[in-house]
């Protein structure tokens, strides 16, 4: 009983200490915190809000790309504004973005120097107490204490795992250590006390690039970033080990990288089914946000092994055909972002001639970022009477070169045992 009591006391003192710390930071840096808002010119109303924080004395403010994406894509449609701790409003200019790391730099006009947040010189240590600042749900600036839990292990783009509630509207707000140095930027949440932050070094890099040479065109900058990101992702995938896994009597490639996660399922327990179906799919569990209806940077791979237990070949093939009618992309785009798909098909044998596939390949092009495409591939084996293998992948926002290299490797890797 005594023991419990003393532990409670220690806990209480910790909480009050953290509270105090948070209050000091908040008071001191409140003038450097902003609500960033996009005003729809036609209606004059807010169309999205987020948080931002000043990182230089002369008014450079960091926030998330997704907070200002509407303005970045359609500057003619929106006004970019800030609201400071005194309730003052004024316009901002968009200076630079990092679309793949979801960061942006905006700037306000300042006549005299203002306090600003310093970017931390090094990453925090695991378990370190951090404070997330922001304006959740338009409720006013708040401080949320939490803990640093390292980088997300299986992610292609770096994310800090922050144990603490990051809510909508806090996006773009800074996460600071006890010295009030920025160690991350609020970006997303997975619910219950799991928050995701963009690491401070991404912001430092963006700021440094901005100092060296500010981008001449945001669209061109985004295009280059998307292009570099897909190149990085696809070459990473192509260079990694493609482990051949057995699926029924087929062999299918599973990319052995931590950020691609695979799942499997089958109907082996349902003995009355006329066709045995074994499914495996692998996917990159992240995407790049470009605008509210335009996501890119996704990868999906799916394999279906089908074995007929008692169907005649004609009936079996009819059954398989019904399963390949509606393959699609793994990302969402709108009419303004991309063309519709165009497709080709042919009967193909892999080099070692272990399998004959009907191969279907479809692609659509991005309208604003030339030489970036979404591609969908579908292969169906047509050389066995009682077995079939469906192999499928979809890549979003890749160059023709990347898509073709990936397709060639994928098509050669799928085979019978």
């Amino acid at each position: 009983m005594k023991f419990i009591f003393s532990t409670l006391l220690i806990l209480a003192s910790c909480v009050s200490y953290a509270q105090e710390q948070a209050e000091t930071i908040f008071k001191q840096y409140a003038p450097s915190l902003y609500q960033i808002r996009l005003i729809d010119k036609a209606s004059g109303e807010k169309s999205s809000i987020g948080s931002g924080f000043q990182i230089t004395a002369n008014g450079l403010i960091a926030t998330n790309y997704h907070v200002i994406s509407g303005y970045a894509r359609h500057p003619e449609k929106y006004l970019l504004e800030y609201l400071d701790s005194q309730g003052q409003k004024s316009t901002l200019s968009l200076e630079s973005v990092d679309v793949t790391n979801d960061l942006a730099l905006v700037k306000r006009e300042l006549n005299e120097d203002n306090t600003f947040f310093e970017i931390a010189p090094h990453a925090p240590i695991k378990g370190e107490e951090l404070y997330s600042l922001g304006n959740p749900n338009d409720l006013g600036m708040i401080v949320v204490p939490g803990t640093y839990n390292g980088l997300k292990a299986d992610s292609f783009s770096d994310r800090i795992h922050f144990t603490g509630s990051v809510n909508s509207g806090m996006s773009g707000g800074p996460v600071v250590n006890k010295e009030a140095q920025v160690v991350g930027i609020n970006v997303a949440t997975s619910g219950n006390q799991i928050g995701w932050l963009v690491p401070h070094d991404k912001l430092r890099a963006l700021y440094q690039d901005y100092l060296d040479a500010p981008p001449t065109s945001i669209e061109e900058q985004m295009k280059q970033q998307l292009y570099a990101n897909q190149k990085d992702l696809v070459s990473n995938l192509l260079q990694s080990n493609w482990e051949l896994k057995q699926l029924g009597s087929a062999k299918v490639p599973v990319v052995d990288v931590p950020f691609v996660k695979c799942w499997g399922e089958s109907n082996a327990d349902k003995t009355e089914d006329k066709v045995l179906i074994v499914v495996a799919n692998c996917a990159l569990n992240e995407d790049t946000y470009v605008s509210s209806k335009f996501y890119t940077g996704t990868l999906d791979m799916e394999y279906l092994y089908l074995k007929s237990k008692s169907l005649s070949p004609t009936k079996f093939y009819q059954y398989v055909q019904a399963r390949i009618k509606s393959a699609g992309p793994s990302n969402d785009v709108s009419k303004d972002d991309a063309t519709e798909f165009e497709c080709q098909h042919d009967l193909i044998s892999a080099k070692e001639n272990k399998i004959s596939n009907k191969a279907i390949f479809c692609t659509r092009a991005y309208k604003d970022y030339d030489d970036l495409f979404d591609v969908v591939y579908l292969g169906v084996s047509v050389d066995r009477y009682e077995e079939a293998l469906i192999s499928h992948f979809a890549l979003a926002g890749v160059s023709q070169e990347s898509a073709q290299a990936f397709m060639a490797k994928f098509m050669e890797a799928v085979s019978w045992k």
Partner: protein, 325 residues
Amino acid sequence: MEIIIEEISRGQKLISRHKFAKSEINIGRGYHNDIILSDPHVCADHICLSFNGDMWTVNDIDSVNGSFLDETKDKAHGHQLKSGDIITLGKSQVRIIFPHHPVPESIAIGPIENLLNVAKHPVFIAINVLVFASIIASLHYINIPKEVHLTQLLEPTIKLLILAVTWPLFVSLISHLMKNDARVLTQISVTFLSLNVLLLGDFIETFVNFNTSSQMPLRYLVLIFPVAVLFTLFWLNTFIGFHTSAKRRYITAAALTLLLVGGSFANSQNKKQKQDFVKKPSYDSTIMSPTFQFSNTETVDKFVKDSDRLFDQVKEEAKKKPDNE
């Protein structure tokens, strides 16, 4: 001089034909007349045609509704008849023809007529219907990935049979109403024969789609086949059911084909347009069991190389600015 009097309908179709060798002919509703018309607008004694040794003359016997020449709408009373004159009495019409009136040249019974005679044979019809029914049943069979009982196939097959037989019945009814020979059996026979040919065409299309690559330029030719079959069916329907000129037959068949093919084409275009932006790709997913694979397979490299064209195509597409901007 002999005279021929034809009772004709409003559509100038022949109802009855009489030949007389006397010099006075009475036409009216009364039973004492030479030509008895049952039209209530015709008087008991309506007109009398008389021959004076040189000419036939019309005499109206003070009828209530009068008698008129069809061509000029003039009163017929006192008119000297020419061969081919049509006289309107009440709501009825008669045509006067003299023996020297020319007739069109005789039409030889063509090979098509001979074939159609074979087609209307009950055995031929039975075989065709049976083939159609079994194809429909087996198509249903292969699309159900379970054990199938015969009774499960019976219902959709019978439904489709009933649907298929409506068309020839409809055509026969129309031709009957237009005072032509209905020839129901022949119509049924050619309809089922065409349907079977269409189903065969369907199979050929599937086969071609499976065995050819999307790079093949002539693969769209298979789409012409069903159009040709439909045209032939409509042409035969017209040939069997209606006595019209060859030109009109072609026009009718072409119009019906256009209506059907164009209609379904417009429908699919319309559907496409309603969907402002299609997010999913549409591709040919035809696959068949290895038994039906006859073409050689290509290499992966060739397939990847082929995709260059596809990339160029969508790149071009992306460069086009939307119309409303």
